[in-house]
Amino acid sequence: MAKTKQYCVAENWGKGFIEHSESSRITFKGLPGNVWQVPAHNKAANLWINKVLGVPKTKDQAQAIVTAIIDAQQDTWDADNVDGESSAEKIERLGSKPTDITLEE
């Protein structure tokens, strides 16, 4: 199956990182680890990656970055306990346990 998404790593510097004219043309998906998903085989997406000096990643490489961050967050969440606290109280205090993210091809 031809890939429909491409990935890069780029740090969001704020204003001008993604402009209205860019998000009007392509769909961005920001992911943990400064990983960004944009359409593959798309001129506007390629130009944006070039603009932000994005480092291209294969889907597997991007998945590894995202998974490593989520694994660390899950470990931190598991280790943060208060004596006598119920599961519901823990979720109220910390938010839900981070869940896995599976990237698309």
Binding site: N12, G14, K15, G16, F17, I18, E19, H20, S21, E22, S23, S24, R25, T27, F28, K29, G30, L31, P32, A44, L47, I70, Q73, Q74, T76, D80, V82, E92, R93, L94, G95, S96, K97, P98, T99, D100, I101
Partner: protein
Amino acid sequence: MPDYKVVHGTKVQNFASDPPAPSEGQVWYNTTTNTSKYFFVNLGAWATGNAMNTARATLGGVGTQTAALAFGGRTPPSSDSDLTETYNGTNWTEVNDLNTLRRLPEGAGTQTAALAFGGRGIPPDFPPDVLHDNTETWNGTNWTEVNDLNTGRYYMAGCGASNTAALAFGGHDPGGRSDKTETWNGTNWTEVNNLNKGIDQLAGTGTNTAALAIGGDVNPNDKTLLWNGTNWTEVNDLNTGRKNAGAAGITTSALASGGGGTPSIVANTETWNGTNWTEVGDLNAAISKAAGAGTTAAGLSFGGNNPPDDCTAATEEFTSGPTTSTLGSE
């Protein structure tokens, strides 16, 4: 493909400056800047803005895209916050803190005249768990404690044009999901007619006489309720039901963005025209429990949780409406 003249009945025209009132779809050549330009009505798109100084979720927020106020919330991993920041359309600046630490505060007003009310305090900041009824007014420099809500609660919605006219509705009170609505007249909160049922984790926008209650942690979660100053009435549903969305605007022109919860935090954005919700451009990164401010023409989303469930300092700016763009610039 038909050429431009077939479609528009004229060739692309040259102008020394951009035409003052172009028609939708019109293309022209600007001979001063040597650029080809076109005009269209943008349904809505988000751009990144500069980040807040402190990442946080479940914060309160009011104001406009160029003059916003962020206050309170949860900072990682689980601290209640009293931090306040102002946004000038470019940068966030730390200003004086709230008097009471709180996550999940609601707000009303503007960057220079705001109201913060309700919220939650949990251990270790508040042993035991506290449902805040505190209300504070912001005069552009300092927060001052004023009269409390009748019912302390969190996960509610709030809105209002100033720090002298606000509305608080829904949320989670000691009895569970709350249907209570209260109005603020600048001095006191008064109980008025309830929501149709208890709803928490809902979004709200508007004024104390014309407001919208959007979504929530109920089933179904796509409902919209309209407040006319006296009663709540159910109106047309969101396209994507959700809890913890960000909201901005008024009852005839509103914006709902992001929301949801683990594992389904969403980036969906919808605009409300007074009758129906329409899907427009998504946030660039999915966000839940963010604050919203501004209008459908110029909206703002700041802070919140992004997947998997991490507090963010990110800011996004929403713009819709008539737009002149340069061909070949992207």
